[in-house]
């Protein structure tokens, strides 16, 4: 017994010694977009760990051992909030043994608190599918939201890491200048998308549509979070024959089969959008995310 304990302690000591003694500010980003934003604002003063991949449905993530380990050393957990991570994050927080990132602590940042949420359900009941009581949490596809969140995230980083506060503020100002220019450019480029009718897989494009005046005419999911059923798809197809849509859109993480089926039967193009940073090869950063999303929709808008 004692020998076992001694061996364990020896292994632990070795493991601890093997860790880089880095004093960087550790950001644990729940989704890739907040990881990308953290890198934009934090530059080389931050270490960013991204908990989920762009090919992962952000609603269905497991509290994997790696997430608990990374959350243990995080100085800031940056997440969407609005109950998007409710299936895994509370467990990661309590199991990490990290007091800094608990709910209510400055080390826990919810992006959704910085913006006005759309589609706040009038009826909070699971008969309506996987509804989020606070509203639609897929806020990152409106660049004006990103600007608000960047300002708040930068202040939070400055608060938690005072020695680098000015560095973060400087980078944030530079980022927001570029971002405002990019928004103006995108709004010009995306002018032909105004009034375009789309069918989406999940209601995860709402903020993007609202920003550019795109009209959503249907969803492949019968209810939020419920996979498409044949009955619902044929209803949707019948509806589209009366009121056609220009395109059917899915996020990179949504399963392609139902989208392809509808595309073929309704004779409308199917488009995959990155949805978050890394969702496509072109969406390398936040700028690329919007460049690519707009380009992919423009390609079928004509």
């Amino acid at each position: 017994m004692m020998r076992w304990l001694r061996h364990t302690l020896a292994v632990l000591a070795w493991l601890l010694a093997a860790q880089p003694a880095s004093a960087a500010f550790n950001i644990f980003a729940c989704e890739p977009e907040w990881g990308a934003l953290g890198k934009e604002l934090g530059g080389d003063k931050v270490n960013v760990y991204i908990a989920t991949s762009p090919l992962q449905d952000p609603h269905h993530v497991e509290a994997r051992p790696s997430l608990i380990a990374r959350a243990r050393s995080a100085d800031l957990v940056a997440c969407t909030g609005a109950q998007l991570e409710i299936g895994w994050l509370p467990l990661v927080q309590t199991q990490s043994g990290n007091a800094r990132i608990q709910i209510g602590q400055p080390g826990y940042f919810e992006a959704a608190r910085q913006v006005t949420l759309l589609e706040v359900p009038a009826l909070v009941d699971r008969s309506q599918g996987d509804v989020h009581p606070g509203g639609n949490p897929h806020i990152q596809l409106d660049p004006r939201n990103i600007a608000k969140i960047a300002a708040a995230l930068s202040e939070r980083m400055a608060q938690l890491d005072p020695p680098d506060a000015e560095y973060y503020r400087g980078r944030t100002k530079a980022f927001l200048d570029r971002w405002q220019q990019a928004i103006a450019r995108w709004e010009k480029e995306a002018a032909p998308l105004k009034g375009m009718t789309v069918v989406v897989y999940h209601k995860n494009m709402t903020y993007f549509e609202q920003w550019l005046g795109i009209r959503e005419v249907g969803e492949l999911e019968p209810l939020p979070g419920m996979p498409p059923t044949t009955a619902h798809l044929s209803d949707l197809l019948a509806r589209l024959q009366k009121e056609p849509a220009k395109v059917v859109v899915r996020a990179a993480y949504n399963e392609p089969r139902a989208v392809e089926w509808l595309s073929e039967h309704a004779r409308i193009p199917a488009v995959v959008v990155p949805f978050t940073v890394g969702g496509t090869d072109q969406a390398k950063d936040l700028f690329g995310l919007f460049d690519d999303t707009i380009a992919r929709l423009l390609a079928v808008a004509k």
Binding site: Q19, S66, A69, W88, G97, Q102, Q114, A152, E155
Partner: protein, 471 residues
């Protein structure tokens, strides 16, 4: 409009003041000029209005660069107006409440009341199959909330189908200890092994593996404290220790001061690529049962009581590997898990047979092992199939009472040499993450000389707050 006319008039006066005393032609010219000016100003004012609108839009954007405090204040106002009714009043701090409904339809070839794992000391736990025909399972009511910035509280009550409430778990947990430590206290599921800490409704099969039934009385509940530490490494390294009263099998009610049972646990885990995640661990439990007793029959069928006093130890090695393409389990996923148990006891056994007025004592040393392995595959969204193989190895059972001829092996039928096996197959369908319906077939050779062929249909529904799922 009035404002515009006024501006136009003032402008006209200012511009054309000296021309007022001229003749009618001049007047007409002035009128034309005024009209022109008016039109121009209309145009300019429209332009101004447009610019104002644009400026307003820009101001909206510029808000982003405003201070975070201002924004959160604005957000707070929005939030308050949206949720004013929900957040006022005494119930604003209501904890998260959830309820799990469970039930089965069971068909078994053997009488569930005769269930026995021959060869292993009966645990007194609820290890038998569910009742035949329709049966209600445990209804679990869970209430959890942060208590203050320092503690979180959780209580899980299980409502038994035939009445009565059992406190499954009721514990506090620290939120603010430094250096990766978490302290839990009260009653909680022990962290030993892999499945033990999970609630039954989260298991992939209707029942526990045989090792849990034979060596932990189905599931080990601790009354005590647990200290866990997570290492500051990228690989998950988690160490834990539990001190408890040890009143549950393999311990017993000890009625003594101090610590009745100690458990040590170590887990490591991480990702392998972006599609695999794993966790592995070893756990150790030691306890000193005092007069832990079970009922049996002697060779003539008279009831006997056997009570054990001594030491009992459990070693567990567990491993789990999960696969999901790019970490997204929504469409397909696969889960492979296994646990190996080693259970040893050494101490004295008191054998009491009132019919033959025998009350003798002897040593009892046992060393037994067991394992299970299971695989669950989600082959289609919402649909899963799983297979589990269970085995217990009788190992060595040194019964001093038999060795010394004070009684015969036939007087200990429960401890007869037997190494049970079980094959289990299940299919389940989960229309959403809050509902699951399962069909399970098992061929269970736990009882010496009998094979119990079981068919269960089980439902699990969870209502209320969205609980997070453990890995």
């Amino acid at each position: 409009m009035f404002k515009r006319n006024l501006i136009a008039a003032v402008a006209a006066l200012a511009v054309s003041g000296p021309a007022l005393a001229q003749d009618a032609a001049e007047l007409a010219k002035i009128r034309a000029e005024i009209k022109q000016l008016k039109d121009t100003y209309e145009q300019r004012i429209q332009d101004l209005e447009k610019r104002l609108a644009e400026a307003e839009a820009k101001a909206g954007k510029a808000q982003a660069t405003a201070s975070a405090a201002e924004q959160s204040a604005a957000q707070a106002t929005t939030a308050v107006s949206a949720a004013a009714s929900a957040r006022s009043g005494e119930n604003a701090f209501n904890p998260a409440v959830s309820l799990v409904l469970q039930g089965t339809y069971a068909r078994t070839s053997q009488d569930p009341n005769q269930y026995q794992i021959t060869g292993y000391v009966p645990t007194g736990g609820e290890v038998g199959p569910p009742v035949r025909s329709f049966g209600l399972g445990e209804t679990e009511l869970a209430i959890a909330s942060n208590i203050d910035p320092y503690f979180r509280g959780t209580a899980v009550a299980s409502l038994a189908p035939d009445g009565g409430v059992n406190v499954e778990e009721a514990y506090f947990q620290t939120l603010a200890l430094p250096q990766g430590f978490t302290l839990k206290g009260g009653r909680f599921f022990s962290g030993i092994g892999y499945l033990n800490a999970q609630h039954q409704h989260a298991w992939d099969f209707q029942d526990a593996p045989l090792v849990y039934k034979a060596f932990l009385g189905n599931q080990l509940t601790q009354n005590g404290v647990q200290l866990r530490w997570v290492a500051p490494t990228d690989l998950l390294i988690e160490l834990g220790a539990e001190l408890s009263s040890g009143n549950q099998f393999p311990g017993s009610d000890q009625n003594k001061n101090g610590i009745g049972s100690t458990a040590l646990l170590a887990h490591i885990g991480g990702d392998a690529g972006d599609s695999y995640a794993w966790r592995s661990g070893v756990s150790y439990l030691t306890t000193s049962p005092n007069g832990r007793s079970y009922q049996d029959v002697d060779s003539l069928g008279n009831p006997t009581t056997n009570s054990f006093t001594g030491n009992a130890k459990v070693w567990v090695a567990d491993a789990i590997l999960k696969w999901a393409p790019h970490g997204d389990p929504t469409y397909h996923n696969f889960k492979l898990q296994g646990e190996y148990f080693r259970f040893t006891q050494d101490g004295t056994l008191v054998y009491n047979d009132t019919a033959t007025a025998t009350n003798v004592m002897g040593s009892l040393d046992t060393s037994q092992t067991g394992w299970y392995t299971q695989a669950v595959w989600q082959f289609y969204p919402q649909w899963r199939v799983g297979y589990r193989y269970d085995r217990l190895n009788y190992g060595t059972v040194n019964n001093g009472i038999v060795n010394n001829g004070l009684a015969t092996a036939a007087d200990f039928p429960v401890l007869a040499n037997h190494s049970p096996t079980r094959n289990t197959l299940m299919f389940d369908w989960s229309p959403s993450e809050f509902s699951r319906i399962r069909l399970q077939f098992a061929s269970d050779k736990s009882r010496l000389g009998f094979t119990d062929n079981e068919v269960f249909v089980q439902y699990i529904y969870s209502l209320g707050a969205h609980g997070a799922h453990t890995f």
